[in-house]
């Protein structure tokens, strides 16, 4: 009861105002992303309305804005081109189902494997993709379009110096539309892009055959959509967490995104997820509660349905200006300066993530590469923490090796190389009680060392193997027994 009231009613005025600001910024984005996906603007607008409204109730992060997004739109292009809108709607519903499953399986916690470098890479790649998606509107057009885009950006960034009471992207759109209509300019408008909503959305199941063939077509797309949607939502949630200094429920957010996407698919909308740029705008405008998200969705629909004729007159150049703003605002500019100061491995992971995404237009692949690379770098670094020292004892009859540090796949070869097999000696003592044997590779490497010594006719004694291999939690399962910390960290 208490949290319900706190989530909804503690910030009514600011939430409603922020909702309007966000709704005004959502309209151009939804239209632009529909164009990217190759569907009518109404698909993106219905999706934005539906996702924002549903997530207000089901989401785990109050104050975060979810709607149709560029990251998702880019993944749908081929499906729409080859199979049409109905398959997209079916894929959207399946995406929702997969996201709900992810929430139930608590996969939200897997986000801890996505390091800072990958997150920054994701954000930068997203910004670049949004910018690149505007290029078709800017190639092979007259100078008028360029002039309008520049004028639009000028208004967006300079108007706040006059007043911050009115959203400057709205001013830019209104001014540019008025100018275009007054001079009767022959440039592309939103109306040229396809159908706009003319009514409230209605419930409609996708018109696709329910068979194995359909599943084979939509499943790969849905899986990628689900992954990218959750990734962006989780990242946005932690950004909003930081900004508002409060906690979010990540697994509830996963399920909430799923429900919102199912609902979107059922009213003829495309799949969406949380939006970094819009969420920042919402927090900046004072939005904190669930009401801000709900207000954004409802205002968006009201405006589009009742002033749809005017919306169709908006020149695409005005939308391009707004989208360039979103792209600039999403990009992490500090990360460029950080390239010099941060460790090389960090920069490589970040740039690799960006590179793969820009090449494939698939954020999921970029994140996968980024996570794998960070894993490699980490293994390499930790593998360096391994040292083998030796001294001779008992008047040169025995050589005693002392192994310290982490022995696992990345350091196993170096471990084997650290022993002098050619030494003519009676007995070798290997003390591993201060080392950690993390995996089978490490144990195999030790076996190899022992056998090699024996072949030279040297007697081998291994000390402390039990303590060392206690870290192989898979086998000994110490991780769930009492005193596991002592076993793992103590020696």
């Amino acid at each position: 009861m208490k949290s319900l009231r706190q989530d909804w009613l503690s910030n009514i005025r600011n939430d409603l105002l922020a909702g309007i600001v966000v709704a005004l910024a959502l309209i151009p984005e939804a239209i632009a992303f529909s164009v990217i996906a190759g569907v009518d603007p109404k698909v993106g607008l219905y999706a934005s309305f539906c996702i924002a409204t549903v997530i207000a109730f089901t989401g785990g992060r109050p104050g975060m804005i979810s709607a149709a997004t560029g990251a998702m739109a880019l993944l749908m292009v081929m499906l729409v081109k080859e199979h049409g809108l109905q398959y997209l709607l079916a894929a959207t519903i399946l995406t929702g189902v997969l996201q709900i499953a992810a929430g139930w399986l608590r996969l939200g916690s897997l986000m801890r494997f996505v390091g800072r470098a990958v997150v920054i890479g994701f954000v930068n790649a997203l910004a670049i993709l949004i910018f690149m998606a505007q290029l078709p509107e800017l190639t092979g057009v007259t100078w008028v379009v360029y002039a309008m885009v520049i004028a639009g950006l000028g208004i967006i960034y300079l108007f706040p110096y006059i007043t911050k009471a009115v959203p400057s992207p709205l001013v830019a759109i209104v001014v540019l539309t008025a100018v275009a209509m007054y001079f009767g300019m022959d440039i592309r408008t939103v109306g040229d892009m396809g159908q706009l909503p003319d009514s409230l959305p209605v419930f409609l199941l996708p018109d696709v055959p329910l068979n194995w063939e359909t599943l084979k077509i939509i499943f790969p797309v849905s899986l990628t959509l689900a992954v990218v949607g959750l990734l962006e939502s989780m990242m946005t949630a932690s950004i909003v967490d930081d900004l508002t200094d409060s906690q979010s429920n990540k697994n509830r957010e996963c399920v909430g995104q799923g429900i919102a996407n199912i609902a979107s698919g059922c009213v003829g909308g495309m799949a969406g997820c949380a939006m970094i740029g819009q969420s920042v705008i919402n927090v900046k405008s004072g939005g904190r509660g669930r009401l801000s998200t709900l207000a954004a969705g409802v205002f968006l629909l009201l405006m589009v349905v009742f002033i749809g004729d005017w919306v169709s007159q908006i020149p695409m150049a005005a939308l391009v200006a707004v989208m360039i703003m979103v792209s600039i605002g999403t990009f992490n500019w500090a990360s460029i300066c950080d390239l010099r100061s941060h460790p090389k491995s960090y920069s490589v992971v970040m740039l690799a993530t960006v590179g793969v995404v820009v090449a494939t237009h698939d954020l999921a692949q970029g994140v996968l590469v980024g996570v794998l690379l960070s894993g490699f770098f980490f293994a390499h670094k930790v593998g360096m923490i391994m040292y083998v020292g030796s001294k001779s004892e008992n008047e040169g009859r025995i050589r005693s090796y002392q192994v310290v540090g982490q022995v696992f796949f990345a350091s196993a070869d170096r471990f084997v190389e650290s022993f002098d097999f050619k030494e003519v000696i009676e007995k070798v003592r290997i003390d591993v009680s201060r080392a950690h044997f993390w995996d089978v590779t490490a144990v195999t490497a030790l076996d190899k060392v022992v056998i090699k010594f024996r072949r030279e006719g040297t007697e081998v004694e291994v000390i402390g193997l039990n303590e060392a291999s206690a870290t192989m939690v898979d086998r000994f399962a110490v991780h769930d027994k009492e005193g596991a910390e002592d076993l793992l960290m103590g020696h």
Binding site: V166, L243, V280, S285, R288, G329, F331
Partner: protein, 287 residues
């Protein structure tokens, strides 16, 4: 560290804080216990400040926003700290004037309920206003924190109303339940009411065991050298207690509080809440 059984006066920045301070000082003096004032500063991340509706985001807007919001929070917190410190200091002076040797004071961040539960271990008596800052404007009979806080705690809680009169006659609202019997024993053992006449009032539905339980309670108190006036008036508890308080000039009520679950009181109503509303005098709630 030795466990000090202190009197904890929980105040917010409302005019009721003065009376909380007065009663806490009274209780501390009677029990010869250390007195501590506590002011809880709560944060409100769910409330936004929105003067910027420009909706434009540019280079580094996220970082700039984060810096701006954290600076705002820091500034607000500083103001709240200083305001609370001055307020607490005034209450401290007031308690010293009332004869308490060296009252302590403390401000803490967090939610009221959680903070009080954390402090509970070395507290002997909580003193808090039945209404607080928010009730000043909303005119509610019972502040919205009271029931939640009382339910969370397991030590006696003195809830005070407007005004301070040094208690001369106290009344125990006795229902014969285990909580009330335990309460009678606590009163008998405590120095808080020593020397004051105690009215022992039993009301509600007449039960077979009633007179025997009442007699038993009377003996417990008399054994501890209290002057006891016991009476058994069947009928509507709320009305009878309120009437008895008026007629006999009672200035402090003692009762067991919230013996039933929150769910049950949501449906059937809580007797404790009814009594707290009808009895307009300071009430000691026993848990």
């Amino acid at each position: 560290m030795k466990i000090e059984n202190k009197v904890l006066a929980c105040v917010d920045l409302s005019l009721f804080a003065d009376y909380v301070a007065d009663y806490a000082a009274w209780a501390a003096r009677r029990m010869d216990a250390p007195l501590k004032f506590l002011h809880v500063i709560s944060r409100h991340p769910e409330i936004g400040s929105g003067e910027d509706h420009s909706g434009a985001i540019g280079i580094g807007s996220q970082e700039i926003l984060l810096t701006k919001l954290s600076e705002q929070d820091a500034a607000l917190a500083k103001v709240a700290h200083e305001k609370g410190r001055i307020f607490l200091n005034r209450l401290r002076e007031r308690a010293i004037a009332a004869g308490v040797a060296s009252p302590d004071m403390k401000q803490r961040h967090g939610a009221l309920e959680e903070t009080l539960v954390e402090q509970e271990d070395d507290v002997r008596l909580f003193v808090l206003g039945r209404r607080g800052e928010s009730a000043e404007v909303t005119n509610r009979d019972l502040g919205r924190n009271v029931e939640r806080v009382v339910r969370a705690l397991h030590k006696p809680i003195l809830t005070v109303t407007e005004g301070f009169t040094e208690p001369r006659r106290v009344m125990i609202a006795f229902d014969g339940g285990s909580l009330a019997r335990k309460g009678v024993e606590m009163v008998a053992a405590s120095p808080l009411f020593r020397g004051l006449p105690i009215h022992l009032l039993m009301s509600g539905k007449a039960s077979q065991d009633g007179p025997r339980q009442l007699e038993c309670a009377r003996q417990t108190l008399e054994a501890a050298d209290f002057e006891v006036i016991s009476s058994l008036i069947p009928g509507d508890t709320e009305r009878i207690v309120a009437q008895a308080i008026q007629e006999q000039g009672i200035d402090m009520l003692i009762m067991g509080a919230y013996a039933h679950s929150a769910l049950r009181s949501l449906i059937l109503g809580s007797k404790t809440n009814d009594l707290l509303r009808s009895a307009r005098i300071p009430t000691l709630l026993l848990r």
